[in-house]
């Protein structure tokens, strides 16, 4: 085809004007790079959120005693409320049809000692069911069983951080730690779970049987939380409603406000995901604006180029080029410039995303489809903005074009 024969020549001419060509596609380069970077960052954020859902246990609904407020973006449990009882947990498990199981839990910060080492950590009283619902596994040792729970035995499962801080690389199984001077035998170490939605280290924790915690450590009859597992992800909303109605009824609240707070973790995460998505959309629209500006850059430079190359256009017409040959040539050049800009932009965006991941600022997942879309988009953009200059070039009269200075 004539256009392909000519494209090589166009490329030579464009390559000869490196600076002009580069400047004209700067906007496109930056726009494409931004799109690729943002999409990669967004995908990174998504992966992280999905990872959290997996570590948290699926279908999880949490009932907390009292009001939970958001303070400085973090969830804080307000004043102590004594109305939430272990029997509430059993009732939810028994009476709510959408609930698969429920586990009561209570936690306090307490000093924990082993040998000369001493740390303060969160001591969580929880039963066997809680491990399963919250998806906590114990690669070494085992969680306490119902017998240890019923007998209020002094056994403990260490979170990963606690095990590391107190014992280093040593194996803590069978050793005795003291929680507020009460000796506990270590029977397991939980697998690491990382940081939760609130930025709290989920591994800085010691699990003890619920009954042991209530009677021997905290000396209370109430609990702070109930972990509820819905039958499946779809049922979590329903489970939340059923648990709320049941608790209101059991606590005889009538027209008083809830003395508990129910958090549906999946909903929370979806909200966060939604936020990161709308953020990405916002930044992408800024990037799209940059692409638009890039298109206008191409328009401007192509117009200048047509003006400067009038004699070349006249000559091409004299030796037989049709109007549409000239039009196609300048369209192809605009597409070529924009395409080169697109390739540079994708490269730049991928490099930036890799750099961010490499430096540990943000986990970015490179999105090649986004790169391809950005590339195709920039080529089309170049051609669209190249139409007007190309038409101008095609409509030059050969004799006038030849005479141009």
């Amino acid at each position: 085809m004539r256009i392909r024969r000519n494209l090589l020549l166009s490329w030579e001419i464009l390559a000869a004007h490196k600076l002009r060509t580069l400047l004209s596609v700067m906007g496109i380069i930056i726009g494409v790079a931004a799109v690729v970077l943002i999409v990669s960052m967004g995908r990174g954020a998504e992966e992280r959120i999905l990872g959290r859902i997996r570590t948290m246990g699926t279908n999880l609904v949490i009932v907390r005693a009292g009001q939970v407020r958001l303070i400085a973006g973090r969830q804080r449990q307000m004043n102590t409320v004594r109305t939430l009882l272990p029997s509430d947990a059993w009732a939810i498990a028994e009476e709510c049809p959408s609930v698969a199981s429920a586990a009561a839990a209570i936690d306090r910060n307490m000093p924990v000692k082993w040998g000369a080492g001493s740390i303060v950590t969160r001591v969580v009283g929880m039963n066997e069911e809680g491990f399963r619902i919250r998806n906590i596994t114990t690669p070494s040792g085992h969680p306490f069983d119902s017998q240890e729970e019923r007998a209020a035995r002094r056994v403990a499962v260490l979170g990963h951080t606690v095990a590391r801080d107190l014992f280093g690389d040593a194996d803590p199984l069978g050793l005795q730690v003291r929680i507020r001077r009460v000796p506990f035998e270590v029977i397991g170490v939980a697998a690491p779970k990382g940081v939760d939605v609130n930025g709290r280290d989920q591994d800085d924790v010691i699990f003890v049987p619920l009954r042991t915690a209530m009677r021997r450590l905290f000396n209370v009859t109430y609990i702070q939380a109930i972990y509820v597992q819905a039958r499946d992800a779809q049922a979590s909303k329903l489970a939340e409603e059923e648990a709320r109605n049941l608790l209101r009824q059991r606590h005889r609240l009538r027209d008083k406000p809830d003395d508990f707070t129910i958090q549906n973790q999946v909903t929370l995460l979806e909200t966060e995901r939604e936020m990161s998505r709308s953020m990405a959309l916002l930044i992408s629209s800024v990037a799209a604006t940059s692409l638009l500006v890039g298109g206008i850059g191409i328009l401007a430079v192509m117009l200048i180029s047509v003006r400067q190359r009038r004699r070349e256009i006249g000559l091409r017409r004299a030796v037989g080029a049709l109007r549409r040959d000239i039009r196609n040539q300048f369209l192809a050049e605009a597409g070529l410039i924009a395409g080169a800009g697109g390739v540079l932009g994708v490269t730049l965006g991928v490099c930036a995303a890799l750099a961010m991941s490499g430096l540990g600022y943000w986990e970015a997942v490179i999105s090649w489809p986004a790169g391809a879309v950005a590339f195709v988009f920039s080529v089309s953009l170049g051609m669209v903005f190249g139409i007007y200059p190309a038409m101008r070039a095609a409509h030059l009269e050969p004799i006038q074009a030849l005479r141009a200075e």
């Binding site: 004539r2 020549l9 004699r311 091409r316 037989g320």
Partner: protein, 243 residues
């Protein structure tokens, strides 16, 4: 070959209409070497543009090898230029950043069928104008005379029947100008039709026939009894002047 009949060319319209060509008629047979002369503003470039199918007359008839040029549309004119006509301009009009070879190949891009031996043909054309060793040079690396010879090679690449030249020696020194004129003579001997527009009597006398334009009309049309011989004049130039 070429037949003009009462050709008129007007620019503008109504009261501002300016008639540049006022009824020009002449014939040029195949293989003729014609010089069109005239002072500036007499319409000789306009006439050349019409002969080269770059512009259409506003009145009269122009037949080129049995084709009625006036009735053709823009695309057909382009095809005609590509197939039949080779242009040589005063300003050379080469692509500055492109090598001589690619410059010469340019018209082939717009040929109806791109020849497989395009590059061979371009090399041959460059060799025929004495630039076999300058194939990979860019215009900026060549002298004015060499650039004009590249332009002639470009005009010849499509093997046109007619070569039209507009002040081809206007920007050249005497020796380079004579070299160009020597090439034109050779082209005529190969059977091509040559039409040169010039205001220079000495250049015109290399042709076999001179058409003198005056105020948009042919003042006289006469054969040159004894055309000047560029080869001989080149040989007679002082030796130290040679490059």
């Amino acid at each position: 070959m070429i037949e003009l009949e009462a050709v008129e060319k007007a620019y503008g319209s109504g009261s501002t209409e300016a008639l540049v060509l006022k009824g020009i008629s002449f014939r040029v047979e195949a293989g003729e070497y014609v010089a069109i002369m005239g002072a500036s503003g007499t319409g000789k470039t306009t006439l050349l543009n019409i002969l080269g199918c770059l512009d259409k007359p506003t009145g009269g008839h122009y037949r080129l090898e049995d084709t009625d040029v006036v009735s053709l549309d823009d695309d057909a004119l382009s095809h005609l230029r590509n197939r039949k006509i080779g242009f040589v301009f005063q300003m050379f009009h080469l692509l500055e950043r492109t090598k001589a070879l690619k410059n010469v190949m340019l018209p082939l891009i717009y040929a109806e069928e791109y020849p497989d031996d395009a590059e061979e043909r371009a090399k041959k054309a460059l060799t025929s104008v004495g630039l076999a060793d300058r194939i990979q040079y860019k215009p900026g690396e060549l002298s004015g005379g060499q650039q004009q010879r590249v332009a002639i090679a470009r005009a010849l690449i499509t093997d046109p029947a007619i070569v039209l030249a507009d002040e081809p020696t206007g920007n050249l020194d005497r020796r380079s100008g004579l070299e160009v004129l020597a090439i034109f003579r050779r082209l005529q001997q190969e059977g091509r039709t040559i039409i040169v527009v010039t205001h220079d009597q000495a250049v015109a006398e290399h042709a076999g026939r001179i058409l003198l334009l005056s105020d948009g009309a042919i003042a006289h049309d006469r054969p040159v009894a004894e055309p000047r011989d560029a080869e001989a004049e080149l040989a007679s130039l002082p030796k130290e002047d040679r490059r």
